[in-house]
Symmetry: C2
Subunit: 326 residues, 2 copies
């Protein structure tokens, strides 16, 4: 695959998608302060970020609204309270999970909503259900993405079939997602190459959503970017479930487009992230995440191990091996 762009110039097709509230919300059940959310919005504006993802469009019939902050549900009213009419270059996105969203009820016409893009997260076996949501949202006027999760567990021919199906749909953007942070750059490039072939054939855009279990989220993001991937997910200070995500501050340090500014993000970290960490909110690369990532497992056991403040890493690894052997 030919290299796109170089280390001196920049590609105008690159878009940075801030997922701090959405993926970070998995760390604190979406209980962000009003000030955090407002400041993050202002930070993204100043930093030249292209999209800000506010959270999920979860179905309140399925999730108890008392147990989660409002960004689990992302009503248009709650978003508007932060962004007003959002008369800016920063677009707004939300995520809808297959089976966890009542899209017919909760997603109105784009013309009546502050939301610009709806991203649909799906496993490979629920792609038809994902495409149903995509088509619905597309017809309502939104940009749409499909984020195929856990591809590190899929086989190549299933993925080929999935990409054909998605390619023929009306979706705008297809995301390479390393759900378990298990993929090495060589594997990410191979995957991205497959997705980019589909993009070429069906005139789609490819995005990347990386996790940092093996300290590879940033490396995998910039490596696939160089190949032509253009929607880049990141979070401030890597905030996200488990080992977290590609850190926005590293990504903005790499990107050469002068519209991207790192200083607003540094100021946000000073004010908000250092405080969150002092309050004991925990995420980011650590040994247990390396171990689940390396074994291509869901991080849930590592999250529990970390929450329990355990440090018996060798026993934890044995536990993961034992799980894998049944």
């Amino acid at each position: 695959m030919k290299k796109k762009g170089d280390l001196v110039s920049f590609r105008p097709d690159i878009k940075v998608v801030d997922c701090t509230l959405r993926d970070g919300g998995l760390v604190n059940n979406f209980f962000f302060s009003e000030e955090f959310v407002k400041d993050l919005y202002l930070t993204n504006l100043k930093a030249g970020i292209d999209y800000m993802e506010f959270g999920y469009k979860a179905n309140k019939d399925l999730f108890d609204a008392d147990k989660f902050g409002k960004w689990k549900f992302c009503s248009d009213e709650d978003i508007r309270a932060v962004v007003g009419e959002n008369d800016t270059k920063l677009k707004i996105s939300v995520m809808a999970d297959v089976g966890r969203t009542n899209f017919q009820r909760d997603i109105c016409n784009k013309s009546d909503s502050p939301i610009d893009m709806i991203r649909v997260a799906t496993y490979i076996h629920t792609i038809p259900a994902a495409l149903e949501i995509v088509e619905y949202c597309h017809n309502k006027g939104y940009e749409t993405t499909i984020n195929i999760m856990a591809v590190s567990k899929s086989n190549d021919s299933d993925l080929d079939d999935a990409l054909e199906l998605i390619g023929r749909s009306c979706v705008d953007i297809i995301y390479v997602v390393d759900s378990y942070g298990s993929l090495y750059p060589e594997q990410m490039r191979r995957l991205a190459s497959k997705y980019l072939e589909c993009a070429e054939k069906y005139n789609k855009i490819i995005g990347i959503h990386a996790h940092n279990n093996q300290q590879l989220a940033f490396a995998n993001t910039i490596e696939t970017l160089t190949m032509g991937v253009s929607y880049l997910d990141s979070t401030v200070s890597s905030m996200g479930r488990g080992a977290g995500n590609c850190p926005t501050e590293l990504l903005l340090g790499f990107l050469k487009n002068p519209k991207y500014k790192i200083t607003p993000v540094l100021k946000f970290i000073e004010k908000h992230i250092t405080r969150l960490k002092e309050e004991g909110v925990v995420w980011g690369y650590d040994i247990p995440y390396l171990l689940t990532g390396r074994l291509n497992q869901h991080p849930r056991d590592a999250i529990q191990f970390t929450a329990d403040k355990r440090t018996d890493y060798a026993a934890f690894l044995q536990h993961l091996y034992d799980k894998d052997s049944f």
Copy 2:
């Protein structure tokens, strides 16, 4: 450049060099407990590590022996007190810095020493002085390396000349070193390619020593490894100056040679690294290191900023910009 090896098999030419004492010693002035050093030696044996670097052969005329632990000086006696005759597969290395070592006095015949390999760290303008040490050590019977520091500050033609000079010497191994943690995988591959051409021409081996300022130490190590680099420096839990190094536990998770075992390293981390961190010894990726790395600067200002427990990152970035503009 052709890819060497794949993600399933392994290359027997790969050697892992544990630099925990040497690079980690820059964090705590080499004041490691006896138990730490002994346990690290036993860990390396069990983990299948190929080399253990004990520290520096610093000149006691230049450095006050009261201000540093003994691994700044690495006398044969001190090493022997840990390893005895070291009748194992684990080789012992030490580092000699150009201008900071009295090699004629402090380095005896290999046959009388527990040390197997002497690594010479040099800037590009002191390569003739480095080659003098290399030749001396080679003639005494040691394996030798040259580690060219700060290549991210050198221009290509100087580096070409340097590699020619080194290629024609008796040195065994030449190291690609990312002193400031400033290099992206694309740049590391380009550098490694240059070094590997020299290796091909002059029958040398290439090694890599990466720093983690931009969370790229592991990625850069495995990317260049795939190209044919075979000596891989790492430290337990990334312990090393500033942002630290390529973490041994990530590297062993990647390598497929069954002789490498991650569990002994996890046990060492449980016992020793968690304690060091609780005692307040600080290293590892953090915002200030990202900023010096991105600007291709020595990490000393970031180390001071971190030691001062400052979090005014935006002001720190401005300070780095100002420095660069004089």
